[in-house]
Subunit: 332 residues, 4 copies
């Protein structure tokens, strides 16, 4: 029996997940809800399923799981709703921008024993999965230090930044989660700095566009992260982990592997220009993992706790950027 899934939110990322479900041999998209009916119809016409509404999805006991692609401020309520109604839940990050609200939500998840996966898609990027596997396989010994680079082609719209929680909570949080995931433990403190270097308008939004941070673990291990909301050469996503016996690097993914050489020298094209193209395989993999996990408790997925952990570190980094002091991370 194929797993039956519903999607809430038929925007850009909802469509990506609908395609992943349609391509998964053990899953079926049965319902889609979006207040914009045309958006919902666009999904059903291409990937199947029926247009529905939240109450009907809650009530439909044949539905195994829901994919939440709704606005961030609805996530926690919807997680609680579906948790109480026996659905497995995939929720785009973040659960909420307020750590306290995340905690109370996770209490409901725990009490209901609901399955909850948070959409840290990078854990499912093939390059980073191979990097993680290299560490797990012991190829570099014990992971001790890291250098993570994450630079966006361009800043998101002002309205996004206003609701996103800012560069530490919408952007660096991905790198933070990867650092925790790859080092295999929570750090104890963070030092960070932020500035507006690319666009003065970002100052008016009370955000930074450039940030650097150092995470530190209790045993002295260290990871530095460098972020910018501008990279004219494309979407720059690199991770490098150093261990006792060596290091492993994930270089950037390139859409095609050609190189031209002229009197000006050797040229390769810019990188991907968008996270949707860069992480296309990661998005498909994460939904496949979620589907596999619905009836299998051994599949390792990013949990609500992982979402909370990353948020706590991002909050601490933001505090450090303002205070100029290393900030201890609240070990939840």
């Amino acid at each position: 029996m194929k797993k039956k899934l519903a999607i809430l939110g038929a925007g850009r990322i909802g469509q990506v997940h609908a395609r992943a479900i349609a391509s998964n041999p053990i899953a079926e998209l049965v319902a889609i809800f979006d207040p914009v009916k045309d958006a919902a119809e666009a999904v059903t016409s291409q990937f199947g399923g029926k247009i529905s509404d939240i109450d009907s999805i809650v009530a439909d006991t044949s539905i195994d799981a829901v994919i939440l692609c709704t606005p961030t401020d609805m996530h926690a309520d919807q997680i609680e709703l579906f948790a109480r109604n026996g659905k497995a839940i995939f929720c785009e990050k973040p659960i909420d921008l307020d750590a306290a609200r995340v905690r109370s939500c996770l209490d409901v998840v725990a009490a209901t024993k609901a399955k909850l996966m948070v959409g840290f898609n990078r854990r499912y990027d093939p390059h980073f999965m191979a990097l993680k596997a290299a560490i797990t396989d012991g190829q570099i010994g014990r992971p001790e230090m890291g250098v993570i680079t994450s630079r966006d082609p361009a800043a998101p719209p002002a309205e996004y930044i206003l609701r996103s929680g800012g560069i530490f909570r919408d952007m660096m949080i991905h790198d933070i989660d990867m650092a925790v995931f790859l080092m295999g433990a929570m750090p104890i403190s963070v030092m960070a700095t932020g500035a507006v270097l690319t666009d003065p308008d970002i100052s008016t939004l009370n955000d930074f566009d450039s940030a650097t941070a150092i995470l530190k673990w209790s045993d002295g291990r260290q990871v530095s992260i460098s972020n910018s909301r501008r990279a004219v050469y494309g979407y720059d996503q690199r991770i490098e982990i150093h261990g006792s016996d060596g290091m492993v690097q994930a270089h950037n993914e390139r859409p095609v592997n050609i190189e031209t050489a002229t009197s000006q020298g050797y040229q390769r094209a810019p990188l991907h220009d968008f996270f949707m193209t860069r992480y296309v395989r990661a998005y498909a993999n994460e939904i496949d993992a979620f589907i596999s996990s619905i009836s299998d408790d051994t599949t390792d997925i990013p949990t609500g706790q992982d979402g909370l952990n990353a948020l706590l570190i991002a909050d601490a980094a933001l505090e450090s950027a303002h205070s100029g002091q290393a900030v201890q991370i609240n070990q939840d």
Copy 2:
């Protein structure tokens, strides 16, 4: 209205094409035929369509096009059959191992004005497409010389080699087609050499496992091709074209772009180990192109003539390998 397609042959490559059709928003798989009924059912259960037979497919006027994944010795007859019955035809290469038979088949195609596409999938590989685009865009000036490397991880089974026409006609023919495609004209002569270097058993099949050739154009342009049926480091597929203003290289595609460094040095994983994984995007792209071409005569696809051209060059290369002389290519 979606284009309706039928597939003949539900083997490995038939399944690949079925998936491509299922993923194409303007196409629909409606019929599948394979003498092995289980194979046909495996396709319909995953990608839709009904199990059918050749006569029914011929008779069904709602079917726009057929995909021929049948054994090579059936290709020419089936092309003629479907051409006479108004179907667009995608045929896996080669049309036939005998150039005369190909010619008579193409006469039927011409007389019936049927659409025929030959499955030179490499023309649809994203890397090679980008390389071709770089040439077409004038980035390297006029293409003048080339170096093509194509090395298989391991030799195919003896039974395949017995029916394939040998290394020049089953393997180098792909490189030959790319050379013609990229240089934009037919060469006038070929010099080639072949040997058995990897497995003495191949001698008993009257084939080579290692071959090198030089194609030459009427204006003196030159492309060399190096082939081996063994590459322990994976499926090695590279093309390099030199022009008056520069050169363009397609490096190998790597499944993931990670690198480890230990006391032994820097390591990257072997290449793809199989053409089905290496050319997964190429296979999808070529079926998309075929579907687009069904009702559009402007889409540029590899034609029956392209198939014949490559075969004539491969035949000449084989003759040269035996005679030790440059062989003029029959300009058909």
Copy 3:
């Protein structure tokens, strides 16, 4: 007339400089002093010059310049001595581990108008020179962020660490100088962390073997530095600067550019295993620059002030590593 130079200290680095002088067409090695006479003789026999002593070198008015390769704690006194006696001075870094002593020494240099160059050899590495030139040429716009990686193959002997001032003052100081040099201004603050990850014995020396730092400029610009006293894959030296219009990276130098591919994948040899081989061209270039600067005030060389600046930042980083706070840098 060739410039006449004397070298004080005939150890490893003194020999390197002697070779550079011997190869320089406008210079001549005339005197060498080392308390170990065999060491001095080894230099004169290979590169010319006579064995001498400090008083004689001071007194010999035909000598234009001295190269100080003596122990660190002699540097400041010797700089003052030769400054007062009209010699141009090249001094291996650091001038002194104590910033106050450096300042008083530089006062003498200023008062005597002596020429003083500090041996920040990395400024003369061909790769980093090309990187600097790319910035100066405007290829990346205004430099705004940086990521510097510097990892030694293995820790130095305990006795070296005891006298070196520790990882921030003997190792990171090179990266700090490059950051200042490439960003073109002094930072205003530094956040740093340090730990012992590779060898517990280093704890007993009151030093770290692993350190990460973030330098920040008054306009918000940021550079992160990652250091380790262990890199089993060789001497890892990389710099990456991001600007408003792009970025420039100096990859590692490799002694040879070959790659093997076997069933285990693609392999390249480890990096250089020693700074003396990695920076062989840098050492030669810096001495050439010093020689050129002797009678030319327009040649841009690292000055005593550059040495002091880097020391002040390194001191601040060490303080930050202990306090966990961002430390303001004393703008001297």
Copy 4:
């Protein structure tokens, strides 16, 4: 006792060798001859030695060896002269453009038991040495196939081509020697083609500017070579050898290893623009090897026979380019 060397010919390459001798700790440049006295003086003033003439060099029994950088048509006579007078001889390639003359010259060398090294400098390039070592160490098993690329930045002057013997004998001969050296045996036949693609004037010189060849060994092994007298992106020198257990590639040497990335993509500078800069280390290494070999018969150096072998293959390639037939190589 240092070896005493004389140089005949103080042109560009004579100066390179003079520098190598001056840098070699066991050698000494004692005499230099050039009909252009200024050229000779330029060498003596920088690298030592005295201006001399051929008769004096012949007569000076303290001189151990001579370096012949004279015009090609003097080589054979001068080799015979110095062989008969007990000097070790380093001769720039070729010994002569006529194989018969080379044979008679080598007869004299054999009869006099003179030491003769031919200047195939590429055997001493660090990258190619490492590639050779990888083969010798068994890293790729038995070498079986090869692809060699050699493309000059621009054509030499017409007067050079007129006297050089043409592209096969002045340019491809280097690749031929490397093929023989790396495969470890003489090939039995060659197929080649040539054309004028870059400059019609070269036709008037009865030469080609573009050539491709396939060398074949008696056991079926194959190496292809691609040559052009034009590469707008710099001096392109690559070798790739495939063996039973893997392959080894020498990528191009780059003066610096930096890369910039802008909105136009990733850029690296063009390659070296001249063989004198590309092979600077090779030239020094070959002279060091020659010096070491003077009194040591175990040092493996390219011999007169190696020079003759490469010439015979180049002659056969030229014949093949004209006849369009595979040409058997005269096994001397």
